[in-house]
C-alpha cells in the first residue's frame, strides 16, 4: 500500500497530541479540589501542557489530563497551597515480601 509523505517533510500542526505520553511516569498528580484556589500556577509551569484550571458551575479547580501527564511532579512542587500530591501508579505498587 502506498503511504503519503509531505513535500520536504513539512508537517501539519499539533500532531504530537496523537501521542499519549500519559504512560511514561511512575507517579501521577492528584488535585485536592478543596485546597485548590484555581491560581493557575501549576498550569503555567506544566511542561506537558496537561494541567488546566477548569470551571464546574460555581467551582474552579485544576484538572489533570492523564493522557499526557508524564508525572514529573512540577505541578505539585510549585503549588503554593499544597493542593497537589504525587501518587504512585497502582501498577508499581506491590507488597514487600
Amino acid at each position: 500500500m502506498k503511504i503519503k509523505i509531505n513535500l520536504g517533510a513539512i508537517s501539519e500542526p499539533m500532531q504530537s497530541e496523537n501521542l499519549k505520553t500519559g504512560d511514561w511516569g511512575t507517579h501521577y498528580p492528584v488535585v485536592d479540589k478543596e485546597k485548590c484556589t484555581a491560581c493557575k500556577t501549576c498550569e503555567q509551569y506544566c511542561p506537558d501542557l496537561c494541567i488546566e484550571v477548569k470551571e464546574f458551575g460555581d467551582e474552579k479547580y485544576a484538572v489533570v489530563n492523564y493522557n499526557y501527564c508524564k508525572g514529573c511532579g512540577i505541578c505539585a512542587s510549585v503549588c503554593p497551597f499544597e493542593a497537589i500530591k504525587m501518587e504512585l501508579k497502582d501498577i508499581f505498587k506491590f507488597d514487600a515480601c
Partner: protein
C-alpha cells in the same frame, strides 16, 4: 488556544516546553518560530509528530539566527510583517558556540527578531557535553571530573554582555523558575523594533541530574544564589535587576545536582565551589543584586 502541543517528547520535568509555551501564549501564537537543532527540535518536530501550532522552521544547528533573519526579510519584502513576530528558540551551544557567527550577523544588521536562548548549560540533546555556557565545575561528558580535573575549568561565556555589545535594543536574562518574569520580558521585548535577546535558564533533568519535581526549585536557586542574575538592558543600559533578599550560598544550589556532586568530594572541589561563590559575588556586585535593608 494551545500553541504548543502535549505529547511532545521532552523528558518529564524538562524546562524547555515551559519557556516555549510561555512565549507562544504571551504572543497569542502570532509567531514564526525558528529553531536550531537541539533538544527542543528533537522533542517537538519529528515528521508527523509536530508539536507546534505556529509556523515553524528548523534548518541546521548553527544557523537559526540567519534563518530568522531570512524569514524576517521575506515578511518585510512581502508586506506580511503584521502576521507575527519572528522568534528564535536556540540552545546554549547553538547560540554561544557554533552559531555565534550567524547570531552576531543578525544582531549587527539589527533584524526585527526575538532571539531566545534556552540555556540548559550543555549540549544536552547529545548527552551532556560542555558548551560555552556550561559553568565551571560542571562535570560533563567532555569535561568529566577526573582524578586531576574538577569538571569544566574556565568561565561561563558572558553572552549577555556580548549581546549588549552589539548595540541591539533589548537584552535580558530570565529563568524557567520565574514564568512571570519571562512573560514580562517577552512582552517588553517585542515592543522594540530590531533585534532582541533573552537568555532563559532552563533546567535539564537528565543533564543536571535532578528529579523533575525539583526542577523549578533548582532553577530558582540559581537566581537566588546570584549565579544566574536576572537582568534587563535597553539600548545598552541596565534598566532592571531582579533583587535578591538574603542571597543563598552557591552550595545550596550545587548540592542538589549530580553535575556538581563531585565538587563535595574532589580534591579541588572546595576551591571550585569558592570560585563559583566568587562569580556569584561578582554578579551581585556588578548588578547590585542584593536587596539592602533600609
Amino acid at each position: 488556544m494551545k500553541y504548543f502541543g502535549s505529547g511532545h517528547g521532552a523528558c518529564p520535568g524538562c524546562g524547555l516546553p515551559i519557556a516555549v509555551k510561555t512565549v507562544l501564549n504571551l504572543l497569542d501564537g502570532k509567531v514564526f518560530a525558528v529553531n536550531s537543532t537541539g533538544c527542543l527540535e528533537i522533542i517537538s518536530s519529528q515528521y508527523g509528530k509536530n508539536a507546534w501550532n505556529v509556523p515553524y522552521i528548523h534548518s541546521l544547528f548553527e544557523n537559526a539566527a540567519a534563518v530568522a533573519a531570512g524569514v524576517e526579510a521575506a515578511l518585510r519584502a512581502l508586506k506580511r510583517k503584521d502576521e507575527g513576530h519572528v522568534v528564535v528558540f536556540a540552545g546554549d551551544g547553538a547560540t554561544a558556540d557554533i552559531g555565534i557567527g550567524t547570531l552576531s550577523g543578525a544582531f549587527d544588521r539589527n533584524h526585527d527578531i526575538l532571539y531566545i536562548c534556552l540555556d540548559n548549560e550543555a549540549y544536552q540533546n547529545t548527552g551532556h557535553q560542555q558548551s560555552g555556557l556550561t559553568p565551571p565545575g560542571e562535570s560533563t561528558t567532555t569535561t568529566p571530573a577526573g582524578k586531576v580535573l574538577p569538571g569544566k575549568v574556565g568561565r561561563k561565556k558572558d553572552m549577555i554582555s556580548i549581546a549588549v555589545a552589539h548595540g541591539i535594543p533589548y537584552v535580558a536574562s530570565s529563568s524557567v523558575g520565574y514564568v512571570s518574569d519571562i512573560r514580562r520580558k517577552v512582552k517588553k521585548a517585542v515592543k522594540f523594533e530590531g533585534a532582541k535577546y533573552i537568555q532563559i535558564h532552563s533546567p535539564c533533568v537528565t543533564g543536571w541530574g535532578i528529579d523533575g519535581s525539583i526542577a523549578i526549585k533548582v532553577a530558582r536557586l540559581a537566581v537566588e544564589t546570584g549565579l544566574y542574575p536576572l537582568v534587563e538592558f535597553e539600548y545598552g543600559k541596565l534598566t532592571s535587576v531582579r533583587k535578591i533578599k538574603d542571597r543563598k550560598p552557591v552550595e545550596e544550589y550545587l548540592k542538589l545536582q549530580r553535575r556538581f556532586r563531585h565538587l563535595f568530594t574532589h580534591e579541588k572541589g572546595r576551591e571550585m565551589i569558592e570560585t563559583l561563590q566568587r562569580f556569584a559575588d561578582e554578579n551581585a556586585e556588578r548588578y547590585g543584586l542584593d536587596l539592602k535593608r533600609e
